[in-house]
């Protein structure tokens, strides 16, 4: 068998893999919103870090903040 068949099948395989990836990405809705991810990627990872900005003069540890948060959620749930 000639090497051309090997080359052709490799090139086809690669092409089809990318094509399938494209179809899957459309199907999962990656092209439905093409704007928001471009903003989202610029956010820093504030979700895990304790906030840098607190009221001046106040220094709270992350632990305090967690309890405070829970309290305020509780408060909120009560008020609702």
């Amino acid at each position: 068998m000639s090497v051309i068949y090997v080359l052709l099948s490799i090139s086809l395989l690669v092409a089809i893999i990318f094509f399938a990836a494209f179809i899957v990405s459309i199907r999962r809705g990656q092209y439905d919103d093409t704007y928001t991810p471009s903003v989202r990627i610029l956010f820093e990872d504030e979700l895990v870090k304790p906030p840098k900005i607190l009221g001046p003069g106040k220094t709270r540890s992350f632990q305090d903040l967690e309890t405070k948060k829970n309290q305020s959620t509780l408060k909120k749930e009560k008020s609702i």
């Binding site: 000639s2 051309i4 068949y5 052709l8 090139s11 086809l12 092409a15 094509f19 494209f22 179809i23 459309i26 199907r27 809705g29 092209y31 439905d32 919103d33 093409t34 704007y35 928001t36 903003v39 989202r40 610029l42 956010f43 504030e46 979700l47 304790p50 906030p51 840098k52 900005i53 607190l54 009221g55 001046p56 903040l65 405070k68 948060k69 829970n70 305020s72 959620t73 909120k76 749930e77 609702i80």
Partner: protein
């Protein structure tokens, strides 16, 4: 006076603060709501919100019982996308979403309520998709949380009726398939391009030739999904056209694709040549690219809205036993007793039982001023209650009410675009005829000269004449214009709207909200001049009142020191009194201040008396939009104009002064009258542009050839229309119409250009010399040059637009 000089801006929402009492450290707030949101955010470690974008928030609205209907499991089930076990997913539309801060805070909602698992913002659509644990939090709690932080979602009857819309992604699939096939076929036909003279039959020596068949059959396989899937729309459209005896542009396209495929397949079967698979896939790819470009949608706008997106899902019904219960709007029956709270919308026609009511119909009928209703009066659906809670008894069901009946008109069930023949179609008709004639003439010539060439020539003509470039000229020109207009805050539904806009000869305008501004109104003082003390007392008395007229008048008066009044009293529906030291002032209706006869019944006025002496009155006027006169003057040269108002004739004389002489003015027009008026103009052969804003214009907007809705805020409701124009760009309307006309000229020019390419191609085809490589060069070349030409021209045009 100096108190207000150095104004502070609210740290949360950016509004100017009226006083400086609300502050935390050096940050000032305009209201308690904003301050609470700030505290909530900082306490939960979300202060980054203010770093990302300054003053991005909105002050939260007070809602007490507005969302009680979300307690009903039936409604929750309809609103959620997913609702099983203890997991619910809901997609909410939030008009306030406008910056990166909004995305950030909404995607960190789980910091404010731990039962929220995740939330994801779709910025172009202004929606947030929230996944939460329904055991720990209800939909109502989620909505209340959003409202409390100033991101109030809009939930309307429309969300309730048609949920779970499928997004159509078929064009992306087709484009992907065509592009994939095009690239691969080009790659596979490369040996043929370089090896033209030495095919295997002619004894070529290149080693690649022995694999020729493999390459060709691979190309054939690649072209199959393109022919049988990606170009389906063209065949369907051509078939539909032919069935209704219409030769649209898709007929020659479909014919070209079919001939390309059949001839290429025959060629490779009998080993005559490589076929035109590269041109075939390229053609479909370029055509779909044009379609994709044309399909610009403003996903945050909707052009299909009816009363349903304005109406609430549920209202409060009072049962026989006197209990309040939440009931769906669809379930309201004749005779039901309904409780309408302040700022709520009246969903059905009814009789007022407990009042009085003050109802704002401006959006529904075009009346500028709120209407007072007494107990026993009939109230029409669509109005908004303004002072306090009222009770009414339903006279009809929702769909049979005065306003909603309008949507029963057949005009709302017609597809407007199918009636309109585009420029491309009308050119396509002539083009198809010419091509077919050329094909037959050339074939009969060759039948006589050399019959073996006849079929070759016939198919070559059809292939090369395939109007790819013509079919691309219009989508690229109009698609680009659509984007340019969008940047100028003129949002069009689709590209055919531009074509229709270029043809209009009559423009009809609504009055209230369209040529008048909803935000501002002016007042003039008539009567004895007020002394400085009286004016100061007037301003301070008005300061305490929340009545809309008081607020407007307060804004209009010049600055005075803040006084503490000795006495202040507000009489609902009548007026105000205030006193300081020995002077006393009365502000309100004519008989409240002791003025016997109301001089001008139509006009809205506020009367003033000081120490029981009548002083005079402030008369309110509609504030017309800036540049109204200039716009009408410039338009009157080429277009017929008219005003069609649902309001009374109070403003007639002022309008006559403002507008060009002899502009017809029609008042007291009901929604159906407007629709009929437009229809009669169309029957007289006019192409009508309707410019309106409210629900009462909905019929006229649908009936007209082009319906433009004017909107102060494009995120709030506007009725079904072809285009939405931001109110700030009202004076540019005529420039946009002229630009549409120029865009059509660009299309005609590019038709000429593409015809030149066709001539060259036809020369090769008719003389029987069409090689695949010529087709493969000519087709993309013509397409690309048309795209480049239209893009450059429309951008030049767009640069001139103000």
């Amino acid at each position: 006076m100096s108190r207000f000089k150095d104004t502070e801006v609210c740290y949360h929402c950016g509004e100017v603060c009226d006083n400086r009492q609300l502050h935390i450290d050096d940050k000032y707030f305009c209201c308690k709501g904003c301050k609470t949101v700030y505290e909530l955010f900082t306490d939960n470690g979300l202060a980054y919100y203010y770093d990302l974008q300054a003053a991005a928030g909105a002050s939260p609205k007070e809602v007490v019982s507005k969302y009680n209907f979300l307690d009903s499991p039936v409604i929750v089930d309809k609103l959620t996308e997913f609702n099983e076990h203890n997991l619910q997913i809901v997609n909410l539309y939030i008009p306030h979403i406008h910056c990166s801060s909004c995305i950030w805070i909404l995607e960190n909602l789980n910091k404010l309520n731990i039962s929220i698992r995740s939330s994801q913002v779709d910025f172009p659509r202004k929606t947030v998709r929230i996944t939460y644990n329904s055991q720990k939090a209800s939909l109502k709690q989620i909505v209340m949380l959003l409202t409390r932080i100033g991101y109030e979602p809009t939930i309307s009857l429309d969300d309730f009726d048609n949920r779970k819309k499928q997004i159509d992604r078929s064009l992306l699939y087709k484009l992907g398939i065509a592009g994939f096939a095009f690239g691969n076929v080009m790659f596979l036909s490369l040996p043929e391009y370089f090896d033209l003279a030495s095919s295997k039959a002619s004894g070529g020596e290149f080693w690649l030739n022995q694999y020729q068949d493999v390459f060709r059959w691979l190309m054939f396989i690649f072209s199959l999904p393109v022919v049988f899937y990606a170009d389906r729309d063209y065949f369907i459209s051509a078939y539909k056209g032919l069935r209704s005896n219409l030769l649209n542009i898709d007929v020659p396209i479909a014919l070209g694709i079919l001939v390309l495929f059949l001839r290429s397949t025959t060629e490779i079967i009998f080993d005559w040549g490589p076929g035109f698979f590269d041109s075939l896939t390229g053609l479909v790819f370029f055509l779909l690219l044009g379609k994709f470009f044309q399909q610009k949608t403003y996903s945050f706008l909707s052009f299909e809205r009816d009363y349903k997106s304005y109406f609430p899902i549920a209202v409060t019904r009072i049962t026989r036993e006197g209990k309040e219960e939440t009931t769906q709007v669809h379930d309201i029956r004749k005779g039901d007793r309904l409780l309408i709270r302040n700022e709520e919308l009246i969903p059905v026609d009814g009789v007022l039982k407990i009042g009085p009511a003050r109802i704002d119909y401006s959006f529904v009928t075009g009346e500028a001023e709120p209407v007072m209703k007494k107990v026993g009066d009939t109230i029409f659906a669509g109005g908004k209650q303004l002072n306090g809670a009222i009770e009414l008894e339903a006279l009809k069901s929702v769909s049979q009410s005065y306003l909603t009946q309008l949507w029963g008109n057949s005009i709302f069930h017609q597809d407007k675009s199918s009636k309109f023949e585009t420029l491309t179609d009308s050119i396509g008709k002539r083009f198809t005829f010419t091509v077919l004639i050329i094909a037959f003439v050339a074939t009969s010539y060759w039948l006589y000269q050399n019959p073996s060439m006849a079929l070759n020539v016939f198919t070559s003509v059809l292939i090369i004449a395939c109007p790819c470039a013509i079919a691309l000229a219009s989508p690229f020109t109009l698609g680009n214009m659509l984007r340019i207009f969008g940047r100028k805050k003129f949002y069009l539904k689709d590209t055919s709207t531009i074509e229709q806009l270029a043809q209009i000869d009559t423009a009809i305008f609504d009055k209230t909200g369209t040529i008048t501004s909803a935000k501002k109104s002016t007042a003039t003082y008539e009567g004895m001049a007020l002394t400085l003390e009286e004016e100061s007392l007037l301003k301070n008395t008005l300061r305490a009142s929340n009545h809309p007229l008081s607020r407007t008048l307060y804004q209009l008066l010049s600055e005075h020191n803040i006084l503490t009044l000795d006495e202040y009293e507000e009489f609902a529906g009548k007026g105000l009194t205030g006193s300081k030291d020995s002077s006393q002032i009365k502000i309100g209706s004519a008989d409240f201040v002791g003025m016997p006869i109301a001089s001008n019944a139509y006009k809205t006025s506020v009367h003033i008396s000081s120490n029981d002496h009548y002083k005079g009155c402030y008369v309110f006027h509609n504030q017309y939009r800036e540049g109204l006169s200039a716009l009408f003057d410039s338009m009157s040269g080429t277009l017929q104009l008219a005003i069609l108002s649902g309001d009374n004739e109070a403003e007639k004389t002022r309008l006559e002064q403002l507008l060009p002489k002899l502009t017809p003015l029609y008042f007291n027009q009901r929604p159906e009258d407007k629709l009929r008026f437009i229809k009669s103009l169309q029957q007289a052969g006019h192409k009508v542009l309707m410019v309106g804003d409210g629900l009462n214009d909905a019929g006229a907007l649908a009936q007209s050839d082009v319906g433009i809705a004017i909107s102060e805020n494009v995120n709030v409701f506007s009725p079904a229309c072809d285009a939405i124009l931001d109110a700030s760009k009202f004076q540019q309307l005529y420039d946009y119409i002229k630009a549409s006309k120029r865009a059509m000229k660009i299309i005609k020019l590019s038709f000429g250009l593409s015809l030149m390419y066709n001539m060259v191609g036809l020369y090769f085809a008719v003389t029987g010399q069409l090689q695949p490589v010529i087709a493969a060069i000519l087709m993309p070349l013509s397409s690309i040059s048309i795209v480049a030409f239209t893009t450059v021209m429309t951008n030049l045009l767009g640069r001139k637009l103000p």
